[in-house]
């Protein structure tokens, strides 16, 4: 079901001289979804985001929103807003003036813009610090101000460039829950660039995995994780083995590998205790297999590097890769 507020990329391409940063991408971001653009650095995800935002010229193709091609409009006229990786708060302006900046540029009077800014700051729970300067805030607080500043323009699509990368791991988990809550409340599309698959799995309604300037796979997080289309996706999502079996390439989840009395003979290489489970790698012929053995099962019969084990899995758990 398509709506006006869907954002569509049509044959979107970005070239820098001879190198292609984004190659002929087609994708529809549905209204009100939380989408994560996931991929290693240099895969083109940030360039894609910056093209949607209008901070990078489009070499070829179109970006459609509300029935028009926004690819050549200035950023403020696109119906998108961007939250920058380093937050890019204006250091000389108070929190309130930062949030009200876009309204000031539009020439709104002081009372109107302060009212709108305070409303946004309440939404991100920063109303009490409106008079502070950005330097007087913690990283998490600056992030919320940046969010409020982006949202004050009432965008249809919010673009977030690695918004959590500057935060410490503990805060990151808290903030990502807040991002998700905010997205649900506002009901607008969030496009979030990240290189952390755990972040993408936790947040996204849809994950778009990019590699080498193209989209490798897009879909619900569970589909992408459980049914990786390519070897790259299987490896990048983590927790997968990629093995050659009966002449084909297959993905096998590490938690589907079982220690069984009968199975493929293998020799234990490494053992890592990880709390919920034990990550064990074993050499099975030429191939190295990663197995997540449940903690209780492992310690009932502990293994050490060098021990011979036999590995088994249900045949149906092998997932054939297309590439």
């Amino acid at each position: 079901m398509r709506t006006e507020d869907d954002l569509e990329l049509v044959h979107l391409t970005k070239r820098y001289g001879d190198t292609v940063a984004v190659r002929d991408i087609n994708h529809v971001f549905n209204k009100g979804t939380y989408v994560c653009l996931l991929g290693p650095s240099g895969c083109g995800k940030s360039t894609t985001l910056r093209m949607i935002a209008g901070h990078e010229d489009v070499s070829d193709g179109s970006i459609l929103l509300q029935g028009q091609d926004i690819a050549h409009l200035p950023p403020a006229k696109r119906g998108t807003a961007m939250m920058f990786q380093s937050y890019a708060l204006f250091p000389h302006l108070s929190v309130r003036d930062n949030v009200a900046f876009s309204l000031r540029m539009k020439g709104e009077d002081r009372a109107t813009r302060h009212r709108a800014a305070d409303e946004m700051l309440e939404l991100v729970d920063m109303g009490h610090l409106a008079a502070r300067l950005p330097a007087q805030l913690s990283g998490g607080q600056q992030q919320r101000v940046a969010l409020a500043r982006a949202l004050v323009t009432k965008p249809r699509v919010l673009l977030l460039d690695e918004p959590l990368s500057a935060l410490d791991p503990f805060l990151r988990i808290r903030v990502r829950a807040e991002l998700k809550r905010l997205q649900r409340e506002l009901g607008i599309t969030f496009i979030h660039v990240t290189h952390g698959q755990d972040e993408a799995l936790a947040l996204a309604d849809e994950i778009v995995v990019m590699n080498n300037a193209v989209i490798e796979q897009a879909g619900h997080p569970r589909d992408v994780f459980a049914a990786p289309r390519t070897e790259f996706v299987a490896r990048f999502m983590g927790g997968h083995n990629v093995l050659s079996w009966n002449g084909g390439r297959y993905a096998l989840r590490a938690d589907d590998v079982l220690l069984a009395p009968q199975g493929q003979p293998a020799v234990v290489r490494t053992v890592e205790y990880q709390g919920h489970h034990v990550a064990m790698t074993a050499a099975m012929g030429e191939q190295e297999i990663l197995a997540y053995v449940p903690e209780a099962a492992f310690f009932a019969d502990p293994k050490s590097p060098g021990d011979a084990v036999s590995l088994a899995w249900e045949e149906g758990r092998l997932h054939r890769l297309e590439a």
Binding site: A53, G54, H55, P74, P75, A76, K77, A81, M82, F84, Q85, S86, A88, L89, F90, P91, H92, F101, S102, R104, M105, K106, R149, A150, T153
Partner: protein
């Protein structure tokens, strides 16, 4: 232990303190002391007297000369700021390649490879009555008779000042601009700011410390100058520096010292006022 630490601290501070005491405090103290002495045409009398100051503040010439000095400072400041800001802005925001940036920056400093007296004097054949400027204008038919105000006038003095001191404005402003996070410019653009709005609401406020440092350089250099005014005005104009230099050439050291003290205080007050508006500590 505690005592030891105190001794070490004093010892570490000693070299700089000695240098400052010897080269800053002592000379100023001497000037202040001498400014209270008396002098006749042939002798200097080391006795406390307010005579020099009384004469200085009682004379109408003092006020006119100080006013002229402020006028030079203000006009030159405005022009160097305008040119300096523009040049720095162009270098910092329009030149993308760092190599080109450094090359152009060095280009700005080339005039400084020659003495400033030479740079000043080379204006004279250009601006003179039969100089290049006048003859070109006459050849082009724009004027009938040579322009008299090109040389030995306030115009030529200020022209030389601007030529000599614009770089002192460019360097600190460029330095501050290079420290502005480029994503702020993008953020401004993302928030709908036009180029002009970005300049006025983001770049200028963030460049203020650099502007202030440049302002202090230019103001102090102009307030203390005497040679430029003497050469470029053909000794027809006066500023405080020339007042002092005249006193010295007449061996009126106490009077020169008193003028110097008043000038020093004036400059300090001006800088004090400027620093109330902008915090430059971050830049130092």
């Amino acid at each position: 232990m505690l005592k030891n630490r105190h001794v070490t601290g004093w010892l570490q501070a000693a070299p700089l303190s000695l240098i400052l005491a010897g080269f800053l405090i002592l000379p100023i103290a001497t000037i202040v002391t001498v400014s209270f002495w008396q002098a006749t045409e042939f002798s200097i009398i080391p006795a406390f007297s307010m005579e020099n100051y009384a004469f200085l503040f009682g004379s109408d010439v003092t006020y006119r000369v100080f006013l002229a000095t402020f006028k030079y400072a203000a006009i030159t400041w405005a022009l160097t700021l305008l040119i300096g800001f523009t040049v720095a802005y162009y270098l910092a925001f329009h030149i993308r390649s760092q190599t080109v940036q450094i090359a152009l920056f060095l280009l700005c400093t080339i005039p400084f490879w020659t003495s400033n007296i030479i740079r000043m004097i080379s204006w004279i054949p250009f601006l003179g009555r039969n100089g290049i400027a006048n003859s070109t204008l006459i050849d082009l038919g724009l004027i009938d008779a040579p322009l008299e105000w090109l040389l030995y006038s306030d115009f030529s003095v200020i022209l030389a000042f601007v030529h000599l001191y614009t770089l002192f404005m460019v360097v600190p402003i460029f330095n501050t601009m290079m420290r502005i996070d480029r994503s702020l410019i993008e953020a401004a653009y993302d928030n709908g700011a036009s180029g002009w709005q970005t300049l006025m609401h983001v770049i200028v406020p963030l460049t203020k410390p650099g502007i202030m440092i440049g302002t202090i350089f230019v103001l102090t250099l102009i307030m203390g100058d005497f040679i430029t005014v003497r050469f470029m005005s053909g000794s027809q104009k006066a500023n405080v520096g020339r007042l002092i230099s005249n006193d010295i050439s007449l061996l009126q050291y106490p009077s020169a010292a008193a003028t110097a003290v008043v000038l020093l205080c004036t400059v300090l007050i001006v800088i004090g006022i400027l620093l109330r508006f902008v915090d430059i500590r971050k830049e130092l």
